[in-house]
Amino acid sequence: MALIKAKNISKDYQTEDVVVHALQEVNFEIEPASFVSFVGPSGSGKTTILNIIGCLDKPSAGELMVADTEVALLGRKESASFRGKHLGFIFQDFNLIPVLTVYENIEYPLIMVQNIEPAERRERISRMLVSVGMKDQGDKYPQQISGGQKQRVAVARALVTHPALVLADEPTANLDSQTAYAVIGLMKKMRDDFGTTFIFSTHDTKIVGEAEVIFRLEDGKLKAKEIKGGIKQ
């Protein structure tokens, strides 16, 4: 059964003079534990689709089921709860909380969002720190670690709540290519270890090759779905 089902999703933005059609009747399905990428040039609608899947934005038309929930119908609070329970986010700029240590950044959603017991919290964080290779960096603050390490922490923070789905908008845009590959490799490993679905957007053609399912967007339209080993229109 598909984790995400999008049916005729459209998104329009009203600017001062014109209506911008960011997405136009997009249809797709994503299976659990898949490693998916939305690719396309700037303005093609990658971020918009990720925002809609992540309940940060609502479609202008169409239906979107995420983890058996019609997310377009959720209110503000319900959206927040849904995100906290089912989704993880990795941002282009890492977006770690600067006043918290690496450990505390990973701990944040467990305390502030999911209210997990201290013992389980410690266990999960330790496991995550080991998984992302930051075992000895827990006491450092974000400003004391490199960009690649920050993104590792962001991956750990996204996964520590055991979400069904992790959304990553241009997760490698601010990283050098070696670190970018390392981060994508880490995400893939996490998918393998935890069975979490990863969806990331990128315009980096080399990074795209790492995805197992690729959705190509252009001018807000889904032009192609590629599965490693073949192309499906």
């Binding site: 940060l56 709860s81 995100r83 700029d93 977006n95 909380i97 600067p98 006043v99």
Partner: protein, 411 residues
């Protein structure tokens, strides 16, 4: 909650200079208010003490209508012996009354045989008067601390003006109630410094001498000064007394007595009220300082952390928790500023008391004893902290209502 506090405190530490400046502003405001309240409060209580304990008493009871014509000291509005006896019974039976002193007052002429001037004579029972207004003795700058029959205590004003010394003979002449004039010679036994208010021409004689000057066959009483056991219960006791004496009616069926507190009898009460008004406005200024400074800081904090707000909202933090984070930041600023302010304020008050600042009140030199009640410190602190929280509300609500997608786009 612990984690919200942790994040709030770390965010405050993150902007050290700004936090320090804002907390300092609150501290300065709190210090200023505490010192002002303690100094003016102690000034007020010393002044009230001087007025009540050396002159007026806490309460006064008169025959109905006497106070309306008090400037002329009307002899026809004195309490008759029977009426006074009833009043004395009522006062004796009241558990809140510590002491009371009947006075026979009249206006007269005062002469040293070469010069003459006007005087207000207070006929008193010395022991009862000194129990009722214990600071009266402290106003006696020269001579005996009591009065015997045939003696008079005169105000410094007259002693200087008429060049009278202790032991000199003087004459008091007064018109009695039927219009005839009588005089009596007295020996000056004491010289009184004046307290504030209408005390500059008040002399004291024994009440029986006063009755003799006025040729009274039966001792009448112009007023009864009352001292309470607890000055803080002034108004409830006054109400009780009013209730008790309301039953005493004259032949026309109208109330026989009237009760007045010192507030109704002394013009100093207006000064005390002015001090209260000034204190109130100083407190308003403090509230304004806290409100503006914290609101300014919190608006800045929200503006600077829009992307962070977007991040925590995207992660799934509920709006209520985002709101709490900013409110607690304001709360922490308020608490830190207030606690430091309380400590510094306390130290300054201590220094004022150790320094021993003296000032003149009337002709008396008083020692300023700055004092503030713990309840006042607590009230001021709570007000500041509540205002700090209130000032954080608007920015906090703004932060909690931010759409995560827009906040994340913020550059």
């Amino acid at each position: 909650m612990k984690n919200i506090f942790k994040i709030a405190v770390r965010n405050l530490i993150r902007y050290k200079r700004r936090t320090l400046l804002t907390a300092s502003l609150i501290t300065i405001g709190v210090v200023f208010v505490l010192v002002f309240v303690s100094v003016t409060g102690s000034f007020k209580s010393i002044m009230i003490g001087e007025v009540t304990d050396s002159m007026l008493g806490h309460l006064q009871v008169h025959r109905k209508g006497y106070v309306a014509s008090i400037d002329s000291l009307p002899l026809n509005l004195n309490m008759k012996p029977k009426a006074y006896a009833k009043m004395a019974e009522t006062l004796k039976s009241s558990p809140d009354v510590e002491a009371f002193s009947p006075r026979l007052k009249f206006g007269g002429m005062f002469s040293n045989f070469t010069e003459t001037t006007s005087i207000r004579i207070n006929g008193i029972y010395p022991d009862r008067e000194f129990q009722t207004v214990p600071l009266l003795t402290s106003r006696i700058s020269e001579g005996k601390k009591t009065i015997s029959r045939g003696e008079i205590m005169i105000p410094l004003l007259l002693a200087r003006g008429l060049k009278i010394k202790i032991g000199d003979a003087v004459v008091v002449v007064a018109t009695n109630v039927d219009g005839s004039v009588n005089g009596k010679q007295f020996i000056v036994s004491g010289i009184l410094e004046s307290a504030t208010g209408p005390g500059g021409r008040d002399g004291y004689v024994h009440i029986e001498d006063a009755a003799e000057v006025l040729r009274m066959t039966e001792l009448e009483v112009s007023e009864v000064a009352v001292r309470l056991k607890d000055f803080n219960h002034l108004h409830p006791v006054m109400q009780q007394l009013e209730g008790k004496i309301a039953a005493e009616l004259n032949k026309e069926g109208k109330p026989l007595f009237e009760v007045h507190s010192w507030e109704q009898l002394s013009p100093f009460f207006n000064i005390a009220k002015m001090i209260d008004v000034m204190t109130f406005f100083i407190k308003i200024m403090l509230i304004a300082i806290v409100l503006i400074s914290i609101m300014n800081v919190m608006i800045m904090a929200v503006f600077e952390r829009i992307r962070e707000i977007g991040t925590i909202a995207a992660i799934g933090t509920l709006p209520g928790k985002i709101r709490s984070m900013f409110i607690i930041e304001g709360l922490c600023l308020g608490v830190v500023g207030t606690v430091i302010g309380d400590i510094i304020g306390g130290i300054i008050i201590l220094i004022i008391n150790l320094t021993g600042i003296r000032y003149n009140f009337g002709r008396q030199e008083l020692l300023l004893h700055a004092d503030i009640l713990p309840a006042d410190v607590l009230t001021i602190s709570i007000i500041v902290i509540i205002v700090a929280v209130a000032a954080s509300l608007q920015p906090a609500i703004k932060a909690s209502k931010m759409e995560p997608i827009e906040a994340l786009r913020h550059v």
